[in-house]
Amino acid sequence: MAAMADNSGRIDRVSNTGGLVWPAEGWSRVPFELFCDPGIHEREDERLFRGPHWSYLGLEVEVPEPGDYTTSYVGATPVVLVRDEGGGLRAFVNRCAHRGAEVVRRPRGNARGFTCIYHNWSYDRAGRVVGVPWEKGRGGAGGYDPAFDKAQHRMRPLRVASWAGVVFGTFSDDAPPLDDYLGPAIRERLSAVFARPVAVTGYQRHTIRANWKLLYENSRDFYHAPQLHKFFGAFGIVQPDQAARAEMWHEGTHCLLTIYQNPDAGNRRTRLEEPRVAAFRTALPESIAISIVGIFPNCLFTLIGSAFSIRQFRPKAPDRFEVVYTYFTYADDPECLREHLFQNNQFGPAGYVAMEDAEVVEKIQARIALGADKGSGLVAMDGTDTTPERIDHMVSEANLRAMWKGYARFMGFAPPDGGRPGAAQEQTQR
């Protein structure tokens, strides 16, 4: 755990200067304190997770019927997503309006309403108070003041919106419409993925002892994939084509990665005894082999072959976060499900091409925490500029630099060129 003591100076500096002054070398440097500083961690919860951004809450197919609910987190805040009587989607903070206790105690389920165990305040499916024991007193004694109006109390709601059955929530009235927030490329990809009915096949919880941004960034890092993940190479598995594309949106913080099928795919044999584990026959349109969709700040879609998953990021501390995977596949295709079960061996905390990511981000965290506010990472492959909206090859870290630039802007950090930190307050697309 990062030490909470003796950090007052840092927090003061955060509040006085907009948080951090980016190194003069520019966006090709990533200061280590971004991953260690408790003040920055708190600022992220305020500005990103409770700020004008949309966070992934779940899939509509997880809550098909009135009363169906699923719980999760938006940053540090526990939230509940519910289908209401009219078929609408509701979300609220899972915290009793009376004393703050957790109200919804099961991860998923169906309920007519919700009751806090502490004093039995009860709520409807929108999180509004509908019952307060002893509200009018008992035996003529006590009770709330006649002016007390329980309708004025509720668990705090979030704005909710969905695209292609993917549900997002925000605490902020300033978040742009979800369609604009996602942008055209991600909208199109999600629409293509969810053009057929899907079924959730399971969940996986994963705790990683590192800063959440290290993994969010890792998901768009072309450079590491063949260097760190040796599984494909070791077994002679046909690797996807080098033709690849990264499309950015939301100030560079979203990233749509697309890697295309290798036209050579049919001509080589793998040394895997069970090749179905790594088949790339894809359920995706066009000739896409791999697509990874990062939707800032808390969501990653991994779409490879028939192994589809969504990762929801839940930061817990500067040096610890949880990822909850939702696995899904096409409900109308038994063959897809079977491929999905085989191919999922590649992903998740035990995955052939995933376990190294957890290992390496934990090992980064363990080293940089030793000198939290000294030094920076180097992100200078393919120049030092932040990219335009799109790059078309894999030999680049420009999409990482773009992410850090956008992140710094949203966080209100002073940019390296001496610009005005407060400029980040303005919410604009691109």
């Binding site: 991860p107 998923r108 959730v200 096949t201 399971g202 969940y203 996986q204 919880r205 994963h206 705790t207 990683i208 002892r209 760190l228 040796k230 599984f231 190479g233 070791a234 077994f235 895997l272 005894e273 069970e274 584990v277 949880e322 696995y327 079960l341 085989f342 999922n344 061996n345 998740g348 905390p349 035990a350 052939y352 376990m355 190294e356 957890a358 290992e359 390496v360 934990e362």
Partner: protein, 163 residues
């Protein structure tokens, strides 16, 4: 079948207990190449959280439906994957036989795996239950299926070596 009584198949229970000890020692000694030999050729090795199982979902962390897939796993750990340097210590208890049908034993055991890192720090890595289907081949027990049912559904770090 289970417990102390005239119906207990003491020979089968003893053989299954011995297999569990050997299984634990094989993994704890990092003799991973021997691990698939505890299974039939078409034996299944599955890791699933209790959370998924209770919800009627698949959600397998690992899904191997033959011994070839287990050999691939071992090869990959040896030549391809980078994972945390550690030693495991499997503690297996409450080995029991709940029933037998057509020569297939429905067996259970509790397990805990204590993991120790490269700097000597130990901690509980995983706790759960083995849900086994076991058959005897030439007098020796083999897994037709070992389902590792995780109580510890929240994996910390990563899971490389089989449980």
């Amino acid at each position: 079948m289970s417990g102390i009584g005239p119906g207990i198949d003491r020979d089968a229970l003893f053989a299954i207990e011995q297999m569990n000890k050997a299984y634990a020692r094989c993994l704890d000694d990092d003799r991973l190449e021997g691990w698939p030999d505890f299974f039939l050729d078409d034996g299944r090795y599955l890791i699933q959280s209790r959370e998924n199982r209770d919800a009627g979902l698949y959600g397998y962390i690992l899904y191997f439906e033959n011994r070839a897939m287990m050999r691939d796993r071992v090869t990959s750990l040896r030549v391809a994957n980078y994972y945390n340097l550690h030693t495991d210590r499997h503690l297996i208890a409450n080995v029991d036989i709940l029933g037998v049908e057509d020569g297939v034993y429905d067996a259970r055991a509790n397990y805990a795996v204590i993991q120790t890192d490269a700097e000597g720090r130990s901690g509980l890595f995983s706790a759960g239950e083995y849900v086994d289907r076991i058959v005897f081949v030439e007098g020796a027990p083999k897994f037709a299926e070992r389902l590792v049912l995780l109580d510890t559904s929240n994996i910390v770090g990563l899971l490389a070596v089989p449980l």
